[in-house]
């Protein structure tokens, strides 16, 4: 008999309610989409510029270190 009156309780309301509980299937679906979105970006090819940048930074640092050494000797 209560099935007809089984209105969702306040906690089930999803708008503006921090404590709202989403249907686990909805949560699961959003979670999957979120991973798909993110993994697609993660798996996209990384431009060479980043490796080049880090190699350049490393080379600069090594050169400075060498020059420092030279200064100390000189």
């Amino acid at each position: 008999m209560n099935l007809m009156n089984a209105d969702p309780p306040e906690a089930a309301r999803v708008d503006d309610d921090d404590e709202a509980v989403l249907n686990p299937k909805v949560q699961e679906s959003i979670g999957r989409s979120l991973k798909a979105h993110y993994d697609d970006l993660v798996n996209s090819p990384v431009p060479d510029r980043f490796l080049a940048l880090l190699a350049q930074l490393e080379a600069t640092e090594q050169r400075l270190r060498t020059e420092d050494g030279a200064d100390e000797r000189g």
């Binding site: 099935l3 007809m4 089984a6 209105d7 969702p8 089930a12 309301r13 999803v14 708008d15 503006d16 309610d17 921090d18 404590e19 709202a20 509980v21 989403l22 249907n23 909805v26 949560q27 679906s29 959003i30 979670g31 989409s33 979120l34 991973k35 798909a36 979105h37 993110y38 993994d39 697609d40 970006l41 993660v42 798996n43 996209s44 990384v46 431009p47 510029r49 980043f50 490796l51 940048l53 880090l54 930074l57 490393e58 640092e61």
Partner: protein, 186 residues
């Protein structure tokens, strides 16, 4: 941590940094500029990284601060003139799955930034609630409530049937079951 280890660590995090930057800014081009700035800052502040802590969390903090201080406005301009990467990606690849992904990305882009960033961090990057709270400089409870609001908003935008929809459906199913199996002709 040796300089070589640090550099290798940075290289390993680049794909995640790009994915997070793109999720924040809505543009792959901006994302790459943002990642470049992040790598430069990380390199210059390498001595401030504490070995044994999460390099990803440290880098995300730098990237996020850089975004909010320098890129946010540009992000909106780029989106206005070029559309988001979601619009462009929509035409590539596997039609069916990409339509879903494109729809999802459009909905994701409509979330307020503070909700979008935590949903991504908690839901996709492998960062914990604690790390996310630290990165954003707010309490864990705030992160949890933002994640909840973000999920609810996404469900609404994507018209995924949530608890509110289950109510009537459940009642209909119950009524049909009581009426007998022969009437279940939907």
């Amino acid at each position: 941590m040796s300089a070589v280890d640090f550099k290798e660590g940075l290289i390993a995090e680049i794909p995640n940094l790009r994915a997070f930057a793109a999720s924040l800014s809505g543009s792959m081009q901006l994302a790459d500029d943002l990642v470049q700035d992040t790598l430069l800052k990380a390199w210059g502040n390498a001595d401030k990284f504490q070995p044994g802590t999460s390099l990803r969390a440290w880098l995300f903090t730098i990237l996020r601060n850089t975004y909010y201080s320098l890129y946010r406005k540009r992000g909106r301009e780029v989106q206005d003139s070029e559309g988001t990467y979601a619009d462009r990606l929509a035409t590539h690849g596997n039609q069916e799955s990409h339509l879903d992904l494109a729809d999802f990305r459009k909905a994701l882009a409509k979330l307020p930034e503070e909700q979008r960033e935590v949903l991504i961090m908690v839901g996709a990057t492998g960062l914990s609630y604690e790390e996310t709270a630290e990165i954003c400089g707010v309490a864990i409870g705030t992160i949890k409530s933002r994640v909840n609001r973000a999920r609810a908003k996404l469900a609404e935008l994507l018209s995924i049937r949530g608890v509110d929809d289950l109510g009537p459906d459940f009642r209909i199913t119950a009524a049909v079951q009581r009426a007998g199996p022969e009437t279940v002709g939907s």
